[in-house]
């Protein structure tokens, strides 16, 4: 069973819909026992990182997620929370990925938020199995994780090269929204789900 962590982190309907389209059964839960018993865990997230982290902490889920040894996928703010620190609200993250999350600097060729379809490259690991570099995926975010040893895909916004995806042991993260990224996104989700 796949569990979507339910922690008041904004609209997660689109993640649910994507799993339904792929024929994947899932449950929404914030229960430690349910999350620990899952085959796979998805940590979604839309909105403010500090508020999302506070909500995750209030439910006692930070050590639970950190201790998981099964595949975990953080999406967008969900991925950011798995980093060391988020500039948005100056909050410490779960600390799985070895990088910090900072705000983009706006420029004429790099509007903030970074919103829309952008190409990803330097693809590494099982999430991107069968995908070619240069594939386009859908982003909506104002903060980014820099490049680090856990970077599993890169993307460029203006002059900034950032981590479109991160990976460490059983933990995966995508800054983009696979649930809104057409066929490319469906492939990423299928790879995560082992389908």
């Amino acid at each position: 069973m796949t569990v979507i962590v339910d922690y008041d982190a904004g609209n997660i309907r689109s993640v649910e819909n994507a799993l339904s389209r792929l024929g994947c059964e899932y449950v929404l839960s914030a229960d430690k026992a349910v999350i620990e018993a899952a085959d796979r865990v998805i940590l979604p997230g839309v909105g403010n990182a500090a508020e999302a982290m506070a909500s995750l902490s209030a439910k006692g889920l930070v050590p639970v997620i950190r201790g998981l040894r099964k595949p975990v996928l953080g999406i967008c703010v969900g991925m950011q929370l798995m980093c060391r620190h988020c500039e948005e609200g100056d909050v410490d993250g779960i600390g799985i990925f070895d990088c910090d999350v900072r705000k983009f600097t706006a420029a004429p060729d790099a509007k903030v938020p970074h919103m829309g379809w952008n190409a990803i490259g330097n693809l590494d690991g099982k999430l991107f199995k069968g995908m070619n570099g240069g594939s386009y995926v859908y982003f909506v975010h104002s903060y980014y994780a820099g490049l680090c040893s856990d970077t599993a895909a890169t993307c460029r916004h203006g002059n900034t090269l950032f981590s479109a995806s991160l990976r460490y042991e059983n933990f995966y993260g995508t800054q983009f929204h696979p649930e809104k990224s057409g066929e490319a996104g469906a492939l990423v989700l299928k790879n995560f789900l082992g389908r």
Binding site: N11, R13, S14, N17, A18, S20, R21, V46, G47, A106, D109, K111, V112, P113, H114, M115, G116, W117, N118, A119, Y136, Y138, F139, V140, R156, H157, E179, K180, S181, G182, E183, G185, A186
Partner: protein
């Protein structure tokens, strides 16, 4: 680099797409979900669904339709038409819409933009503006272009941005339906005066028109309806030609 976006727009009334379509391999005219899936398959980057219903009963039909669209398509979509309150926006968000567009109600009550943006984020709020040029001034209109207001396009667009709108969707009523090209100078000016993305709408008649507004007009996205619905321009052909002209698009 973020790709320029191609956005088909679908008008929906009482749960069905109103304008006819002429897709190859798809004869079922009027099914909003199937049309969305087909456009997505062809390479549309986003979809806009506009509810042109008049009554409350039809609006609840539209809400249920949004749920089906959200379940059926895997690219972002915006819904608009008759959104007059934070509650309307919440209902559509809960149904699965990625963005909502506000128009007439925002002109009457600009705080609507701030209310929705502060609750759900700027990325959720598109400010649609319909305007026409009268004596050299671009005047904002409401209710589908039927009511002239005292507001001016560029100052209203700036105010919408300041209030938290994440994108501006400007339709030139002087160009809409003409198929003679977009209002390029106005998009160029909007792009230079705003920090948020600008979506061009109204006037698309050819691939060249779309290429022009994405380059000379500096628009971030081009929206069109009839040229796509009637099969006059197919999206794969359009995107291939835009790419050939050096415009970054998602293929």
């Amino acid at each position: 680099m973020v790709a320029k976006r191609i956005i088909p727009c679908l008008d929906v009334k009482d749960g069905a797409v109103v304008k006819g379509i002429n897709f190859e391999g798809l004869r079922e005219v009027g099914d909003a979900v199937k049309m969305g899936v087909e456009y997505s398959r062809q390479g549309a980057d986003e979809l806009v669904y506009l509810d042109i219903s008049a009554s409350r009963e039809e609006r609840s039909t539209f809400t249920r339709l949004v749920e089906q669209i959200a379940l059926g398509i895997d690219i972002p979509f915006t819904v608009g038409g008759g959104i007059g309150s934070l509650e309307d926006a919440s209902r559509l968000l809960d149904s699965g819409a990625d963005k909502i567009s506000v128009n007439s109600a925002a002109v009457a009550h600009p705080e609507l933009i701030s209310d929705i943006a502060s609750r759900y984020g700027s990325q959720f709020v598109v400010c649609a503006i319909d305007a026409k040029c009268i004596d050299g001034v671009w005047r904002v209109t409401t209710h589908g272009g039927s009511r002239l207001t005292d507001r001016e396009l560029f100052s209203w667009a700036r105010e919408a941005q300041e209030r938290g709108a994440g994108e501006i969707l400007f339709t030139s009523m002087d160009h809409d339906g003409t198929r003679n090209g977009y209002a390029c100078p106005q998009y160029r000016r909007l792009a230079s005066e705003l920090d948020i993305p600008v979506i061009a709408s109204g006037g698309a008649g050819s691939i060249g028109d779309i290429a022009e507004v994405l380059t000379e007009g500096c628009a971030d996205a081009a929206l069109a309806a009839s040229i796509f619905h009637y099969g006059q321009i197919r999206i794969p052909v359009l995107k291939g030609e835009l790419l050939r002209r050096g415009i970054t698009v998602r293929i």
